[in-house]
């Protein structure tokens, strides 16, 4: 960072894109619309989290909801992630449909006992007696000058039977998946990449449309190799695909949309077509969700493979540093992906 590179965005206002609203909605607007519609549709829906009330959340996801639905349904909590997550569980046990906002996913860690031990296991441990319609929304991901604790991608922590995990890449998916999440009778961890909040615009489908879980989206059809990814990396991969397209590398990009359940059939279909797979995520490599995806391919599509299953992921640092140069060194960008595509295509 030097004084000659002015900062145009901040932690609560991540990078923006085209301001032309005629070109559709941003992801944060899509999320806000989904919340508004679901709260209007179902009086049982209760929102809670830090600063979600008057302020509308630090990113504005809950903007206007406090005014529209009142303080009883849009609850500002004290800073007590474990307590208010448990509170949400108790409310859901008694019939509320609960949407919890964790301000940054980095701060979900003290709620992990309630999430892992209670939320994920309640339906199972009660032999189906209790259901917990809860959505835990949390901004995830880096590249926003957030430093070590506002940039993490710990999605793999939540890959656990009993939880569903969603990570949309586009505004329309964010809206449709969030509506599905709120209507799901199970706990859903809904991870929103903060770099995508305002940087992408897209027309939203009209009417009450939802996007089902477990169905991947082909973000780019191709024949040379398959990139299996999700979240913000879908966009980096798409950029990388355009870089290598003129070189005759025609990458297929699969946007998983949901990580639990994840679309095994779509992955196997794509790899069966291309015979080469690159698993890509923003989280660090060792112990990341990419292991699961690569393992699936190496087992169930083994006979189709013409090349090793590659993983491209962040380096094994504890988190993404604040300084811009370190942050850039940490982040996977289109150029790095393009290099990996070339390498895999050449195998």
């Amino acid at each position: 960072m030097t004084a000659t590179e002015p900062h145009t965005h901040g932690l609560f206002s991540p990078p923006a894109g085209n301001d032309d609203t005629a070109r559709g909605a941003t992801m944060i607007e899509a999320i806000n619309a989904a919340l508004t519609e679901e709260m209007a549709r179902d009086r049982r829906v209760l929102l809670l989290g830090e600063d979600v009330g008057k302020r509308g959340g630090v990113f504005g996801a809950t903007k206007g909801l406090y005014a529209q639905f009142g303080a009883a349904r849009v609850l500002d909590t004290p800073i007590a992630e474990s307590g208010f997550t448990g509170f949400g569980i108790g409310a859901a046990m008694l019939g509320a449909v609960v949407v919890i906002e964790i301000q940054f996913v980095d701060f979900i860690m003290s709620a992990l006992d309630q999430i892992f031990s209670e939320m994920a296991k309640m339906h199972y441990r009660s032999n189906g007696d209790v259901r917990l319609p809860i959505v835990v929304r949390a901004p995830i991901g880096g590249g926003v000058h957030g430093g070590l604790y506002h940039s993490q991608s710990p999605e793999n922590l939540f890959i656990m039977p009993g939880l569903k995990v969603v990570m949309p890449a586009t505004p329309a998916d964010a809206k449709g998946l969030l509506k599905s999440a709120i209507r799901d009778p199970n706990p859903v961890i809904f991870l929103e990449h903060k770099r995508l909040y305002r940087s992408v615009r897209e027309a939203l489908p009209t009417g009450d449309s939802t996007v089902p879980f477990g169905i991947a989206r082909v973000a780019r059809a191709g024949t040379t190799l398959s990139v299996i990814t999700y979240g913000a990396m879908v966009h980096e991969a798409t950029r990388a695909a355009e870089i290598v397209a003129p070189e005759g590398i025609d990458a297929e990009i699969l946007d998983l949309r949901t990580l639990q359940p994840y679309d095994r059939a779509a992955i196997l279909r794509s790899v069966t077509k291309t015979h080469r797979a690159l698993v890509l995520h923003e989280a660090s490599k060792t112990g990341g969700f990419g292991g699961e995806l690569a393992a699936l391919i190496a087992d169930e599509a083994f006979m189709e493979l013409d090349a090793p299953v590659r993983r491209l992921a962040a380096p094994d640092a504890p988190a993404m540093p604040f300084n811009s140069r370190l942050e850039s060194a940490y982040m996977i960008d289109a150029a790095t992906i393009a290099a990996a595509l070339r390498d895999l295509a050449a195998f």
Partner: protein
């Protein structure tokens, strides 16, 4: 505990607002829990079941709590030791044994949970996991949801040990209930030990009840071996909760008369003298003496009831033991709820 009164000097049950029938009901409930408890210990020692969690010494407080709650409207987020209390919310001895033997017919979990991890939506009992104090914020959230639904009758009670009251979730749950002035009664069954760890090692203050001051609601200490005193304290808190007065923290002081569980050896950390001393305040002994002193039951009636209870519990245990195990093919049932709302 040394300052608590000895056998026979219970609070007068009528002064506490209880009828003779209530008092008899409390005696019976305590006797039932004790009989179940002893049977489970024996069955475990005989190798018939891998685990049990005794409630001996805590039946009195639980009977007091039980009568102060209304199972038709109220909800309970219980402690694992609540073998007496959950019966108020509809658990029968046979159901308790079905849980103990982890049978398919176990209403708690169909044999999935370790025994004594209560729960049943139909019975207004919140599902309990093993991590301590997690149910405290659940109770607050449940009360909030009931309020949102316009239910002004329900009170939510939650029980926990003094050990669990050291956890962040206890404090955060109290805080949330207090901020929203929710109708919650927090009840600590302080039995002096968290496994081997005595109160003075766990807590910088002698009374868990002191923690209520942090949240601005009343904290009350009551003799947990006196069922009628406990009843009165919980009844007052229940009234406060229902009339918009917000939460109360009640600490019932008692003593865990048996080891922590069937897997514990309490000789490693406490003397037999200490246990023997606490036995003089065994709540069942105390109420038994009281029933006689107040001519509610005579010696013969007590013997008869005890024998009848033995028979009832034997029948329940035998029926449960003979019930079918869960089918292993159900292992992956209910990982997720299937139908959309």
């Amino acid at each position: 505990m040394a300052t608590l009164p000895a056998t026979g000097t219970l609070t007068d049950h009528r002064a506490a607002g209880l009828t003779d029938t209530d008092a008899l009901g409390m005696f019976t409930l305590m006797l039932c829990a004790r009989t179940i408890d002893e049977r489970m210990w024996l069955l475990n020692r005989q190798g018939a079941a891998p685990f049990t969690v005794p409630c001996r010494g805590q039946e009195g407080a639980q009977a007091g709590i039980a009568l102060a709650l209304d199972p038709t409207t109220d909800w309970l987020f219980p402690h694992y030791r609540d073998t007496a209390l959950v019966q108020r919310f509809g658990f029968t001895p046979e159901e308790i044994f079905l849980m103990f033997f982890a049978k398919a017919g176990d209403v708690v979990s169909g044999g999935r949970q370790l025994t004594h991890h209560w729960g049943s939506q139909a019975r207004h009992i919140g599902s309990l996991g093993s991590p301590l104090a997690s149910q405290v914020p659940h109770a607050a959230g449940a009360a909030y949801a009931l309020r949102l639904q316009g239910n002004t009758a329900a009170v939510v009670a939650t029980t926990f040990g003094e050990g669990g009251a050291s956890k962040g979730d206890f404090y955060e749950g109290c805080s949330l209930a207090a901020i929203h002035r929710l109708p919650v009664v927090f009840i600590c069954e302080n039995n002096e030990y968290a496994i081997s760890t005595p109160m003075h090692t766990q807590s910088p203050v002698p009374d868990v009840a002191s923690r209520a001051a942090a949240f601005g609601f009343p904290g009350v200490v009551v003799d947990g071996t006196d069922p009628f005193a406990v009843y009165a304290a919980v009844r007052e808190a229940h009234h406060r909760a229902r009339t918009g007065g917000g939460p109360t923290l009640i600490e019932a002081k008692m003593y865990r008369l048996l080891p922590h569980t069937s897997d514990d050896n309490d000789r490693l950390y406490r003397s037999r003298e200490e246990v023997a001393d606490a036995e003089t305040r065994d709540p069942l002994r105390r109420i038994t003496a009281y029933m006689q002193e107040h001519a509610l039951l005579d010696g013969q009636e007590i013997d008869d009831r005890t024998a009848a209870m033995q028979a009832e519990v034997s029948a329940a245990a035998a029926a449960a033991m003979a019930a079918p195990d869960p089918n292993p093919t159900t292992l992956l049932d209910h990982v997720y709820a299937e139908d959309a709302r």
